[in-house]
């Protein structure tokens, strides 16, 4: 008779005695669970923010390099307008070399006089060659696939440009850089491939984690100058009428080609609300790999994309209102009285 009573009392006492401890354990377990969730969320949010900043910085840095390339080339255009001190320039003096902006209407003397048109054409051609060399050097840094291979070409060149972004030293970060629509498609596809086979691609070892995708040269137009009183172009003045070798680069001045008339040379960027248009610019896709405190979803790949563009109105490369279709395709225009090599870059809006 006493056993059931005693046993029931012990059971009741055991149950009552352990009430607080199991509840505490449950609370602790729940707290730890939520704490791990919070830390994971923090890691994901932090990594996503870092990836976005890296993408922004890479896109802006590469676009800035393109802007610098345009500025350097156009600065040589403007240099041709300052061959004499401003106070000594006499636009009606036929014995003085004109600025390139005034060359078309300059009263050049006959070729028997000195300085003659051919000498002027030689001088302009020399400056054009320097401009072409600058273009090639910048394109090589960009990793433009239509450039000449050599030192600093491709990923190596981009690494040199982007080495100050120390976050790129992280073996769990990979970046794809592009400056054309074609390159953007390739980068998006490559991003998917890398993530699909993530464990094999992260962390990256033994190779560069900066990958150019479909990089093209910064598009420039070589403008011909038609000397009106001699009825010939500077190219013809240099080589002789009817003796210009086929494929010769026109002698004159250079400007960036904003029209996108050269195949695959521009990138569509959203520059304002809903304005998605072809621009000279660059983009970057970043993949950042992190490992979560979770047995189920351990490897997470965060991506971010950004595009930047050279602001067309931040400099002046052609006389406004003179752009027209060229007889040889693309566009042509008149030089402005002064070139403004002051181009800078902006981030594109999220599309």
């Amino acid at each position: 008779m006493s056993l059931p009573h005693s046993s029931g009392r012990r059971m009741r006492r055991l149950g009552e005695r352990g009430q607080f401890i199991p509840m505490t354990y449950m609370l602790l377990f729940t707290s730890v669970f939520f704490l791990v969730a919070v830390i994971n969320m923090y890691m994901v949010a932090q990594a996503k923010l870092q990836a976005q900043n890296i993408a922004d910085a890479v896109a802006l840095a590469v676009a800035a390099l393109e802007a610098k390339s345009i500025n350097v080339v156009m600065d040589r255009d403007e240099w041709m307008n300052h061959m004499y001190p401003d106070s000594q320039i006499n636009k009606n003096n036929k014995n003085q070399f004109p600025g390139i902006s005034d060359a078309a209407k300059h009263p050049f003397a006959n070729s028997s006089d000195n300085p003659d048109l051919q000498q002027y054409a030689q001088l302009v051609n020399t400056i054009n060659m320097a401009q072409t060399m600058f273009q090639a050097a910048y394109n090589r840094f960009l990793g433009a696939t239509d450039g000449t291979t050599g030192q600093n070409y491709g990923p190596g060149g981009l690494s040199a440009i982007l080495h100050e972004i120390t976050a790129l030293n992280d073996a769990n970060v990979r970046v794809m850089v592009f400056n054309t629509d074609d390159g953007e498609s390739k980068a998006a596809q490559h991003q998917q491939d890398l993530i699909n086979n993530g464990k094999a691609n992260f962390p990256i070892t033994g190779s560069d984690n900066i990958e150019p995708q479909g990089m093209a040269s910064v598009p420039f137009v070589n403008e011909e100058v038609h000397i009106q009183n001699q009825n010939e172009t500077l190219t013809e003045a240099l080589y002789g009428k009817g003796k210009v070798p086929p494929g010769t680069q026109p002698v004159g001045w250079m400007r960036p080609d904003w029209s996108g008339s050269k195949d695959h040379s521009t990138l569509k960027v959203t520059t304002g609300a809903g304005q998605n248009s072809a621009q000279i610019g660059a983009g970057a896709i970043v993949i950042k790999h992190i490992q979560l405190m979770s047995p189920f979803f351990r490897d997470v790949y965060l991506t971010a994309e950004s595009k930047a563009y050279v602001v067309k109105d931040s400099g002046l490369s052609v006389q406004p209102g003179t752009l027209r279709a060229s007889a040889t395709g693309g566009t042509t225009g008149d030089p402005p009285p002064h070139f403004f090599p002051t181009y800078y870059v902006k981030l594109g809006a999220r599309s």
Partner: protein
């Protein structure tokens, strides 16, 4: 009955402080995580401002250097954007060197500091601030520091000795330090006085 309730109370008395401390720690970690994300957000924003203004602002080289916190007005530290000539500007000094932080809230560095402080209302100058950015050749590095004082634990630490947790958010901006290094053939604010003439004249004076 006394015995039963007494046991439960004793258990609670032993475990409750532990539980409260653990919940407190969890809440602190939650707060630090949240502040960590906010700090990174602030760094991203500061880097964007730094980058954009370096390439899109400034009317003179001296003004740009001053705006970037590379030089300051020795009297007030406030950017006046005038009176700083080319001779005062040494681009090489900007390479990798930490520029002088403006004394007051002037210029770009002051603007970034104010922006960051506004993102963390109620914090002092030592709790949320932007150290001088690392000026690179192509890209600058901007950091935001957030210091959080841990709550004082009764009987464990003395007043004023509570440890601080330092959170740092780092972001990248400042896309082209030398975009302004090109001579400006065009006219400046004074149409009669092109920038290139000023630069050439000043260079002549130095030589």
């Amino acid at each position: 009955m006394k015995n039963k309730s007494g046991q439960s109370t004793v258990e609670m008395a032993f475990l409750m402080p532990l539980l409260v401390m653990m919940i407190g720690a969890a809440l602190f970690i939650l707060y630090v995580s949240w502040q960590g994300i906010r700090t990174q957000q602030a760094a991203n924003l500061a880097a964007r401002v730094q980058g954009q203004e370096r390439v899109a602002g400034g009317t003179s080289i001296g003004g740009i250097a001053q705006d970037n916190g590379s030089t300051t007005d020795s009297t007030s530290g406030v950017n006046t954007d005038v009176g700083v000539g080319f001779a005062d500007f040494n681009p090489m000094s900007m390479l990798g060197a930490a520029p002088t932080r403006p004394v007051a809230g002037g210029g770009l560095a002051g603007k970034i500091n104010k922006l960051v402080r506004d993102l963390f209302p109620g914090t002092s100058e030592t709790e949320a601030y932007v150290p001088p950015p690392v000026i690179g050749q192509n890209v600058d590095t901007v950091s935001v520091i957030r210091k959080i004082t841990m709550p004082r634990i009764p009987f464990l630490n003395n007043p004023g000795t509570a440890p601080q947790v330092t959170i740092q958010g780092t972001a990248y901006g400042g896309e082209d330090t030398f975009m302004y290094g090109l001579p400006r053939w065009g006219t400046t604010a004074s149409a009669a006085d092109p920038e290139w003439k000023t630069l050439v004249n000043q260079k002549g004076d130095k030589d």
